[in-house]
Amino acid sequence: MFVHEKNAVSDFIGDLTRKYGRQRSSLLPILQEIQHKYNYVSDFAQQEVARNLDIHPVEVYSVISFYAFLYDKPRGRNIVRFCKTIVCELAGARAVAEAVKRELGIGFGETTKDGKITLEYANCIGMCDKSPAMLVNERVYSGLDPEQACKIIREIK
């Protein structure tokens, strides 16, 4: 990481700390915003957060590793979370998943080479009445069939 990049990260975290406060309860909102902006929380960012909140870096790492939506390694700019829970599966999620995999040329848990899209499984995302469903970043898509899903993926590709 270059110095100016580091400075930008530090400034961003400094701003977040001012926004949310220096108490421990600010940790998750701060991490969520970092994740949102950088697609992951680098070890430098983790240490900056720790310094700002006066906690230990390992505590930040521990929290990040606990939550499925926080990452310590770079992820794609778009994250596709595909519901794998049984109800979606009953509705044909497997076929949709295969189609999405083919479309992107990557498997679940992987990121496209250009760093644009990460494909992941998620547990129930609360769209069981309109299954199969997936989340693309913060948007939810439901009632998918393979063709529709691939169309959505193509739009962000």
Binding site: L28, S62, Y67, I86, N123, C124, I125, S131, L135
Partner: protein, 403 residues
């Protein structure tokens, strides 16, 4: 295809009644706090998240606490597979949820409310924030609400980050405080030592949404519906093999059979009541009624028809628990893995009945020795599916296609 906001015409005895925005809150603020608690007690409203703790008791303990700071937390971390009623309430009836929170704040003497919204529902955030802003400008939130001198209350929304266990109330509080979402030892309960050490009520979205209607119509009216021990109505999130999946509001005491008829699933083979951590019923149990005293549920109803492989369903549930266990206590962290291994053994046909019995026994230990509700309920599908569908699983007449 962002379909979550499609407004549907819904009807129901309590939550899906017509409601004039602000009316419940207005009436509540004209009442004495004790009268609200009395109405609640009379209504026998119980927590809608699944555990069924009497709401009035929770509120009374916090109302009686002398702490100068108290919190109202709305548990919108709806993560139980097959549950989506909170999504419907938050997108279609947010006024009920938020007004319920304000009424709770008024009743217990809190000035701060927090909605813990699951990270998967991020798409609702801007809508809900806007809704809160409108409430503020209409004097339904903020300082001196509806002209009531000295009653200040505001609501903020905090997001989860993808952890099912944070739906457990103490884990939720840990998460709000900036820690790993690991459940605490209980006691102390949140009503005594909750968020930031202050008395806190943590209520499910549906519980809070019931409150404005309950205030409008009274506890006695509420008791007219449902059964003696389960009063009022319940939202059921129905999914799986049925003609019309969706959220239904039905009085407590409805039998599984009746529900199946309503949703068009009369050929169902199995019904998982209460989500992954619930119990799976076979045909012989379809006459049982959905109520706290019989087939208790937080509202998730998953329906499986004759073509489904129940062992595969069970495997999916156990995989879910292995992933979502917080890993803190031994029975849940390792126990769920052992149960999953057991399912895989059956799948491969490499098992002994003795070992399966041993695993069921382990499941019963997990039910009593785990630290929180997750580990205490995760063996439910293992035990119930292997019991209720043992013929199909251990003595297959024909080879079932997977799903």
């Amino acid at each position: 295809m962002n379909t979550a906001f499609e407004k549907q015409d819904r009807t129901g005895p309590v939550l899906f009644r017509t409601y004039e925005k602000g009316s419940g809150l207005k009436k509540a603020l004209s009442m004495e706090r004790n009268d609200i608690l009395d109405e609640l007690r009379e209504s026998k409203l119980k927590g809608r998240g699944g555990a069924g703790f009497p709401t009035s008791t929770k509120w009374m303990i916090v109302a009686a606490a002398s702490d100068s700071k108290k919190y109202v937390i709305c548990n919108a971390d709806e993560g139980e597979p097959g549950t989506f009623k909170d999504r419907v309430l938050l997108t279609e009836y947010p006024e009920l949820v938020f007004e319920g929170m304000v009424i709770a704040g008024y009743t217990i003497g809190a000035d701060e409310g927090i909605v813990y919204l699951r990270g998967e529902y991020f798409y609702m955030l801007s809508f809900l924030e806007k809704f809160l802003e409108d409430m503020r400008s209409n004097g339904l939130l903020g300082k001196n609400i509806l002209g009531k001198d000295g009653f200040n209350f505001d609501i903020s929304i905090r997001l989860g980050s993808g952890a099912y266990v944070c739906g457990e109330e103490t884990a939720l509080i840990e998460s709000l405080e900036g820690y790993r979402g690991e459940p605490r030892n209980r006691p102390p309960f949140p009503v005594n030592t909750g968020f930031m050490g202050h008395p806190t009520i943590v209520n499910n979205v549906e519980t809070l949404a019931s409150v404005p209607h309950l205030i409008m119509n009274g506890g006695a009216w509420f008791c007219e519906m449902g059964t003696d021990k389960s009063t009022g109505s319940k939202l059921f999130s129905v999914s799986g093999d049925c003609d019309s999946p969706g959220v239904y509001e039905l009085p407590w005491g409805t039998t599984i059979k009746e529900l199946l008829k309503i949703v068009g699933a009369e050929n169902a083979k199995a019904v998982q009541v209460g989500g992954a951590s619930g119990i799976c019923f076979g045909k012989k149990d379809f006459s049982r009624s959905l109520a706290y005293e019989d087939a208790a549920t937080g509202g998730s109803i998953m329906i499986f028809n004759e073509s489904r492989n129940m062992l595969h369903v069970l495997k999916s549930f156990m995989e879910f628990f292995v992933e979502e266990s917080c890993g803190q206590c031994t029975p849940c962290r390792i126990g769920n893995v052992k149960l999953l291994e057991g399912v895989e053994m059956i799948e491969r046909g490499e098992f002994t009945f003795e070992y399966i019995e041993k695993l069921k026994d382990l499941g019963r230990t997990m039910q009593v020795a785990s630290k929180c509700g997750l580990g205490q309920t995760s063996p439910n599908p293992f035990i119930s599916i292997l019991e209720n569908f043992k013929d199909e699983i251990f003595n297959p007449r024909e080879v079932n296609e997977a799903v």
